[in-house]
Symmetry: C2
Subunit: 430 residues, 2 copies
């Protein structure tokens, strides 16, 4: 690799502009660590004149990012736009085909097109790095690709979305409703002001678990349908009842091998308040790896925000500058296989079921009868009457049962007039 | 690098023999991940015929490890003997000078001679890797050298010795004395059966903190005198009193920059039971890094034992096989500087002081008067009489005071006949 490295940054949102500033101020340090001089020779974003946290050099601004490659010789491209397709995909493909290294925090792109892009990178002998796509500042991908490289990983799981973890933590702390806390999160910049949906519905965490899973088990990114649930239906009531039970609700991403089959999921989970994962609060992310021979490894850190994300983007940069050419997923694409998918229907958990019902005689027994019919045995019932409104909340903790069983069992409650909403279901951690 | 790599393992104790077995069984996997075929062509240990956990190939056994290099072309040497000098140093030096990569879990060697050995490795353009020297299976060195490479680290601290953490945890769990629990630890293989001193007196943790500190702050390994205290003086009594105060005793290693000066220490510390570090129990290790822009990062995992240690040794091997030539301390030796050392006397903490005294009038006031004289103000006093023996235990929690102050203040208690032992001092986490 030559001594002077030309860099382009496309996308100057929160992350992009922070990265631009970090690169500008850390040139000297990067040269000391790698022996390479970096030059930011091109930047691009939708709006040239938007007010930004740091001042940009307008002389190197390009309105159309594809023009950059016509005008300048680029060695490394930072793609910080964040689309799963469209211009993000186009740019990354173009760069890789033209032997330009790519660094991106774009989890949607990698979760969707990672396999194809990795092949392209390998074919052109350049790096495609995406440490920042998963768990912000936590160097989890590097840890799996290198630090734990020869371990046999059985399970990897954790809290992968800071926004939802903040909301759940803050609902407990402040005893405020989901809606109020969501507003707070948006004000603090933890949740997208316009459309926080991808965080809340589990999609964001899901893209991350798919990337982690591909790395952990050396398989191609799975495309199969999985259980993906977010926190939209979690109410303050659930937080408080969990509290009484010495439990806490966390949105977990889980990838594991069950009977040699791959199981991936994202769903809210009731975990013990005394457990490690139950004590990861606020915007923190945490990933737990169960491997052999290493045992249990935990990595925790800030999972979002420009600071932590930049830290990972720069670690990718240093890796490239040091000349560490690597397969994007740790091993060569043609050696990554397919692992058969575990049938979601057979996923088994104890359940927390919250029913909002009319306060009438026989309602509870109609519920328990239905559960009994499906051999779902009840561990605990907590009934809280709301006399004024002639309603009641019934929470049932069940013994272990399978997804298919519970799906069949719950379906009927849609038609029961005494049950006011479809029951809220939260799985308990096994 | 050529395609077939010759490996020698010197030292076949608990770690060495486990590594030997791992390498033998994971050849295929290593080839898939790196494209290189490894061959173990030489092993060496004191005793050829000792009963070992895994069977060795006696045809490749050498009684004198230095003979290996006369008979075979070695590409990578695993030094798993563990001495800080002597044959360990000799072997590693010889290997590096002859352009043989070295991988070692030997923290004493690196903490003592790491700077010189790193220079030697750089001069000969080979790798000296020691991921396994600190915190067993936790890839903490790699994380600092690569994952957090461009962060400005302010402080790094944690639980770096699994043996002492097990002892402290188990004293609390079982309510048994230090001596009994130490025996248990030795039976379980957590503490050296012969000489557990280096674990107990903080020396082991201290070697690790020196290595971490050199990496975190890009400085040469410090040789200055520091505060190093172990857990030998911690009694069950202290564990129980801490418990009442919602505190827990942990042996912490700390390296931080205070006023642009380097401060390194290992000592028992009272931490909140509600803190993260207060909940790292048993043989677990944990390292906390405070950096910018990444914020707080935590890595936790099994800190000792052949499994976790092998995991790190193999990660070093893969790094070398992938051709990632690197400076042993992340940056070139001649760019690593010296950071001025912070004066230990100015280290400031709240203190826990336990006095064992004769149950006589005036003893408490003689203690508090003395403290007052040195402007050490008392936050809390817990006095527990032992009427039968005409003794009492006095525990004093002080407000913050400096080391020099407390040293001066406590010295006189040696001469006080009513005070039965020199007081036990445990610092509170700031």
């Amino acid at each position: 690799m030559k001594k002077i490295i030309n860099i382009a940054i496309v996308g100057l949102g929160q992350i992009g502009i922070y990265l631009y500033n970090e690169l500008s101020t850390k040139k000297k340090e990067i040269e000391i660590k790698t022996g390479k001089k970096i030059n930011i020779v091109a930047i691009s974003a939708k709006n040239k004149n938007k007010k930004r946290r740091f001042k940009i050099d307008k002389k190197i601004f390009y309105s159309n990012p594809l023009d950059i490659f016509k005008k300048r010789k680029i060695d490394i491209l930072f793609e910080v736009i964040g689309q799963s397709d469209g211009i993000s995909k186009k740019l990354v493909e173009f760069a890789l085909m033209n032997k330009i290294h790519v660094i991106t925090p774009n989890k949607s792109l990698i979760a969707k097109h990672g396999d194809q892009l990795a092949k392209l990178a390998e074919k052109n002998k350049v790096n495609l790095e995406f440490e920042a796509a998963v768990a912000g500042g936590i160097p989890i991908l590097r840890t799996m690709k290198e630090g734990l490289a020869t371990n046999k990983i059985k399970k990897i799981y954790g809290i992968l979305n800071g926004t939802t973890n903040y909301i759940l933590s803050e609902m407990e702390n402040s005893n405020e409703t989901f809606e109020k806390v969501l507003l707070k999160a948006q004000k603090l910049g933890y949740a997208e002001p316009g459309n926080p949906k991808l965080d809340l519905n589990g999609f964001d965490a899901f893209a991350k678990i798919r990337i982690l899973s591909a790395l952990a088990f050396n398989n191609k990114i799975s495309k199969d349908k999985c259980i993906m649930e977010g926190i939209q239906n979690i109410q303050l009531k659930d937080i408080n009842i969990a509290n009484q039970l010495n439990l806490r609700i966390k949105l977990l991403g889980i990838a594991e091998i069950i009977n040699n089959q791959l199981f991936e999921t994202v769903h809210p989970c009731l975990v013990s308040k005394d457990s490690y994962i139950g004590n990861v609060m606020g915007v923190m992310n945490a990933v737990i790896i169960e491997g052999k021979p290493v045992g249990e490894s935990i990595l925790q850190g800030e999972g979002a925000g420009p600071g932590p994300t930049s830290s990972s983007l720069l670690s990718d940069l240093l890796s490239i500058l040091r000349g560490n050419t690597k397969h994007p997923f740790g091993i060569s694409s043609h050696k990554r296989g397919y692992v058969k998918t575990f049938n979601n229907n057979n996923y088994t958990n104890s359940l927390y079921l919250r029913f909002e019902v009319k306060d009438k005689q026989g309602v509870l027994s109609s519920i328990t009868n239905r559960l009994t019919k499906f051999k779902i045995s009840v561990k605990r019932i907590i009934q809280t009457p709301d006399k004024k409104n002639n309603k009641a909340t019934i929470v049932i903790i069940t013994h272990k049962t399978s997804e298919i069983n519970i799906k069949k069992c719950l379906s009927i409650f849609k038609k029961n007039k005494n049950i006011l909403n479809f029951p809220t279901l939260i799985r308990l951690q096994n």
